[in-house]
Symmetry: C2
Subunit: 334 residues, 2 copies
């Protein structure tokens, strides 16, 4: 095994979020599916952006949010993802580096703009996402930095990236490098529509390459085309070493072989914006597992990280998660 330099290396869509408040009417007027992530092209991105309320631009991207969360938990992380050589790309790079994540992927030198996710947040704190993938999917096997994968305890792959064939090939390459180096590979399914679009490829990846799977209830039942949560659990426990399934306000379940550990949601004063809840849950769980904590403590770290992120706008932590976790009895430095 090569030297461990990183707790986690993430591979994902490098995206800047544009977050603005809206009323429910706006979603229906604009034909936006509430609570979902919808892919849009550049023309639609321009039209929707023009119609949106004034926004805040903050760096996002599911796996990038997770890596920022891992760094905030005190872990060492690296990120692989593609931006364009434009202002939003520079913002993305700055924010990830400033969060303490090693990020050196070369920007795309021609072609589409840096990806952006237009997030309209309704008064009930639900976010509806319209994503222009832009430069982020112009990502191929060449961008997989073998050294960053083989030096990480866990390589974390973001399902959203599956929307382009070159990116799928890059995923498989990353998983193979991790395996060859004696490391673990983790995947998040990201979105039930994303699972629908690529079910066969996901099934193959999970079966052959994934040690730790993240999904929510919709995604895991969609993956196995079953109607109940229990049926999905029966399948997933045969295919991956660990599965971490989130259930919104019902918390999460972590499954390892015959064992299932229920993790209650961490209480919060007020839910402001659920953007990033799943990403930060993964950050907590991966932080725990990479430090050798048990399922229960790792799951609790996930719940704590998720509770912080839904208490404010944006999907990157506002406080040091390691300190928050310590205040709740879990010390990652021990």
């Amino acid at each position: 095994m090569s030297q461990t330099r990183y707790d986690v290396t993430g591979v994902g869509n490098a995206i800047v979020d544009v977050i603005a408040p809206c009323q429910d009417d706006f979603l229906s007027d604009q034909n936006i599916e509430k609570g979902a992530m919808t892919l849009i092209d550049e023309a639609r991105a321009e039209a929707l952006y023009a119609a949106m309320a004034p926004g805040k631009e903050v760096s996002g991207g599911s796996a990038a949010n997770t890596l920022a969360g891992i760094a905030s938990m005190g872990g060492k992380g690296a990120y692989i993802g593609k931006v364009a050589d434009d202002d939003l790309g520079k913002i993305f790079r700055h924010d990830l580096n400033a969060a303490g994540v090693d990020y050196t992927t070369k920007p795309l030198d021609s072609g589409p703009l840096t990806a952006r996710c237009l997030i309209n947040v309704t008064p009930d704190a639900q976010r509806s996402m319209s994503t222009f993938l832009g430069a982020s999917v112009h990502f191929s096997e060449e961008d997989i930095d073998a050294e960053k994968i083989s030096a990480a305890r866990i390589t974390y792959l973001e399902g959203y990236l599956f929307d382009r064939d070159e990116a799928k090939a890059a995923f498989v390459k990353a998983a193979e490098i991790a395996r060859a180096a004696g490391r673990m590979t983790s995947l998040t399914l990201s979105d039930s529509f994303c699972v629908d679009r690529h079910r066969a490829a996901f099934r193959q990846l999970v079966r052959n390459h994934v040690d730790i799977l993240f999904a929510n209830e919709d995604e895991i039942t969609s993956l196995y085309e079953v109607s109940s949560f229990d049926e999905a659990i029966d399948q997933v426990r045969q295919e991956t070493r660990i599965a971490a399934i989130t259930r919104s306000e019902k918390g999460a379940v972590l499954i390892e072989g015959g064992e299932a550990t229920a993790i209650p949601a961490e209480p919060v004063d007020k839910i402001v914006d659920t953007t990033g809840a799943g990403d930060l849950f993964a950050a907590g769980v991966l932080s725990g597992l990479s430090k050798g904590l048990d399922l229960s403590s790792s799951g609790r770290l996930g719940a704590i990280a998720a509770s912080e992120i839904i208490s404010h706008i944006g999907a990157r932590p506002n406080v040091e998660l390691a300190i928050l976790a310590r205040s709740k009895g879990i010390d990652l430095e021990e």
Copy 2:
């Protein structure tokens, strides 16, 4: 008098704010004057940005914040200011249009990037601003849209723009157009260092062209080079029709001829970020004056708008100020 299409037209530095949290140590390490606005060049902007924590990008610019506030109070506003043809310029334009402000100034087609203000916010909610003026000062008499000035009850000029001679000339032109159309001209001094740099030019502008002057205590005493607030008041009341002087937590004083009206600060639960407090105070006062309200009610609107903006991160309102004002007994629709 030409037809009134706007309550207020603002002329200012078109700037995107980058807001990030920091500790006091960071300010001393980076040699940043706490609480002040310091002008920086592009190289310094890059170095400081690289050193800053992950941030939120939000449209700013003093007069642009004021116009967004006036629109939120239900007023009709226009804005004149210069961005580059880049992502940050597009963000600036989008946010101002989406806030309901008419903004059509042609972007700079070559030369420096869109201006950015790097704002480091310490735990005491004070902001320390490092501003790269970029495209915003490449602004000349040609950019003054005479129709937008002559159609506005009040033209509002931002002192920050004074840092370049062409922009100074553009200011005088705007004031002359307003005067010729029988309109009022308002100026904010913006910053005591800005007043130091351009004292003679400001004195001349105030004496010859300004009907409504906005300043804080430091700025007004610097303008007249006097040591006490009372001496400054004695001078300013002879030179402008109305002066609105802010005094932080002591509130504000509005002066018209022999009359002085004290406006207490509006209480807030928690001060989070004082960015934009002066800009939004001006928004409230100008909203009131343009609708014909008296000094006391106009000042109260200023205090209400300022209290909203310091309760959250960013210098544009999060709620409709007209509704907030109505809940506090001032109905702008009456």
